[in-house]
Amino acid sequence: MSNYTFFNHTADIGVEITGRTAKTLFVNAAYALFDVMIEGKTGRAAKREKKIIVEGTDISDLMMNFLRELLYLFNGEQFVMESCEMIQFTHKTLQARLAGESLQSNRHLVKTEIKAVTYSGLKVEKTQTGWSVRVIFDV
């Protein structure tokens, strides 16, 4: 089952992501970001690995900075993430191990160019069934 759904936003792309725990919410958000951008992942073994450390003033800010970092890895370093594993996770800091590969036009179709992850209305919330966040990507 998909852990995210789109909501209507006139100019940009709105995505609502859910997760059973706060930690899985973050992992699901990472997959959602790359799903919005890229189509046609291959099953081959990932060739690049990255370890990132991200901080935030609260859990929403942490989410923002986490997604910003992933977006930069794609836009600045052409890193296409295939898996994300949380090594350490609190509501103010996280350490993640990412596996993926370099963007290649014959293997990846870039569906959407995301210019940025916006702060607009971004709020990580605890729900009755777990955690959720609504994010607007500027495209």
Binding site: F6, N8, H9, T10, A11, D12, I13, G14, M37, T57, D61, M64, N65, R68, Y72, N75, G76, Q78, L103, L109, V110, K111, T112, E113, K115, A116, T118, Y119, S120, G121, L122, I136, D138, V139
Partner: protein
């Protein structure tokens, strides 16, 4: 719809009443045809949110192409006092100096009709477009610094275009005060790859034909006449600009508490214009703006080359001249008469075009008598408008007008409603040849996804902010 009750001021303006912590009221330009569209999203709420920012002057404005953005609405205009006001990266937008450039030619549709297919293919091949596209201009660190400082002038010096192109570029193609030291390594790195690229999404290059002239005098001054072929380019500062905005927004969000500025939405994070952070952002923003002007200048040069080569014509025969280049995502320090006194203000235009009237000193000599060309691209099927700025813009909108048609449909709605259709074929049947890197982009950008540009332009015309000069119909379009 937002819970805000708008009050009708006249046929073209609606008031967002000042409530709660709003420092000023808001005004939205809309007529009876545009007004119902405001109910569909949160843009009126965003107009009200902007009115909360410190140092805002007179009112928070929205042009008739207003739609739901993030932080500021798209189509938003707001002016701030230099000593007590703020600068907000979100009020400029991620794509710093996203803008339009219109070039006229000496060709008519008849001259290119049989070669239009070849011309479109050649443009598509030689104008790098699409996500992550890289340009043919490879920059060394030293050159990049010059691009950021000198903008379009750097491109002309490097052989991309003519000196006269700079005369008809807003601000001569460079904002003063650019300081590359204020731009992060990440932004610089992204910028190195992408100079001379169109990008994706709503960015495009369009071959158009002048379909109708409304104002003969202004059209003549702009060098436009019925039946003439023109080219419109819409793009901005690419990854470099997005990264500058992202970097400074994060920085300002982080420091909001110490500045004691309370904003209703984090995306409105800002710094006082007089603060170090505010000044640094302005210096970095100027770098982004200058990069965008160099980018459009290079793309124009490539377009000239493609026309001349494909049509086997000399530069003189094609005679591609720059009518004007305007930015529509920017913050500018400009002077306006406020309560009888000329005052310097910081004008945020996020999805809004400068629209200075006749006589303004910022205009090139040849347009000084008629006013500034205001370039308004519509959707792919409809084409574009050229307007001319009027005196009333100085009185009411801080010298600003709309910037496009404005979306009414979200991208996912557009994709849904385009299911089972070929947008490329539909456009081709209506006489527009389209080449796009992805079908998704085409579907998202389908004509129905936008407001009717004619309605939007009519509001500006009737309100006396900018008058209609010419309508152009697209005949070919390339997109990323």
């Amino acid at each position: 719809m937002s819970d805000i009750k708008l009050e009708k001021l006249d046929d073209n303006r609606w008031l967002v009443p000042q409530t709660g912590d709003m420092r000023v009221p808001g005004i939205i330009y809309a007529n009876e045809r545009i007004y119902p569209l405001l109910k569909g999203d949160e843009s009126a709420r965003q107009v009200a949110n902007v009115a909360h920012l410190p140092g805002i002057v007179k009112y928070s404005l929205a042009m008739p192409d207003v739609h739901w953005g993030y932080g500021f609405p798209i189509g938003g205009v707001a002016a701030f006092e230099m000593d007590s006001g703020i600068i907000s990266p979100g009020g400029v937008g991620y794509d710093i100096n996203c803008g339009c450039r219109l070039m006229s030619t000496s060709l008519t549709l008849q001259d290119i009709k049989t070669r239009l297919g070849d011309l479109t293919t050649a443009l598509y091949q030689h104008i790098p477009s699409g996500v992550g596209s890289t340009g043919s201009v490879k920059l060394s660190g030293k050159d990049q610094k010059k691009v950021l400082e000198e903008g379009a002038a750097w491109a002309v010096k490097a052989g991309f275009g003519l000196h006269e192109d700079l005369e008809t570029t807003e601000d001569g193609g460079a904002i003063a005060g650019a300081d590359p030291e204020q731009v992060s390594d990440r932004a610089l790195e992204r910028g190195k790859q992408q100079l001379g690229t169109l990008g994706s999404g709503n960015h495009f290059l369009e071959v158009e034909v002048v379909q109708e002239i409304f104002d003969e005098e202004a059209a003549k001054a702009f060098g436009l006449y019925k039946g003439q072929i023109a080219v419109m380019i819409h793009t901005g500062s690419r990854g470099l600009g997005y990264q500058i905005c992202d970097d400074y927004l994060a920085l300002m969000v982080k420091h909001m508490q110490e500045t004691k500025i309370v904003v209703p939405d984090r995306q409105l994070a800002c710094a006082y214009l007089e603060s170090r952070r505010g000044k640094n952002y302005l210096a970095a923003m100027a770098c982004g703006a200058n990069y965008a002007w160099a980018n459009r200048q290079i793309l124009m040069h490539r377009t000239r080359e493609v026309f001349e080569k494909t049509l086997r014509m000399s530069p003189r025969e094609v005679n591609m001249r720059l009518v004007y280049d305007v930015c529509h995502n920017i913050a500018k320090i400009e002077s306006f008469m406020i309560g009888g006194v000329m005052k310097k203000l910081c004008i945020h235009r996020k999805g809004a075009t400068r629209a200075f009237p006749a006589g303004h000193e910022a205009l090139p000599e040849r347009y000084r008598k008629v006013g500034q060309p205001v370039l308004i691209p519509g959707d792919m099927g409809t084409g574009s408008y050229v307007l001319v700025g009027q005196e009333k813009a100085m009185e009411e909108t801080f010298g600003s007008a709309c910037h496009g048609a404005g979306r009414v449909m979200s991208r996912s709605q557009a994709i849904k409603s385009s299911r089972g259709r070929s947008i490329a074929r539909e456009l081709s049947e209506s006489g527009v040849l389209v080449m796009a890197g992805s079908k998704g982009t085409l579907n998202e950008e389908m004509p129905e996804a936008y407001k009717n540009v004619e309605d939007v332009v009519q509001v500006m015309h009737d309100a006396g902010i900018a008058k209609k000069v010419a309508k152009l119909k697209s005949v070919a379009c390339i997109k990323g």
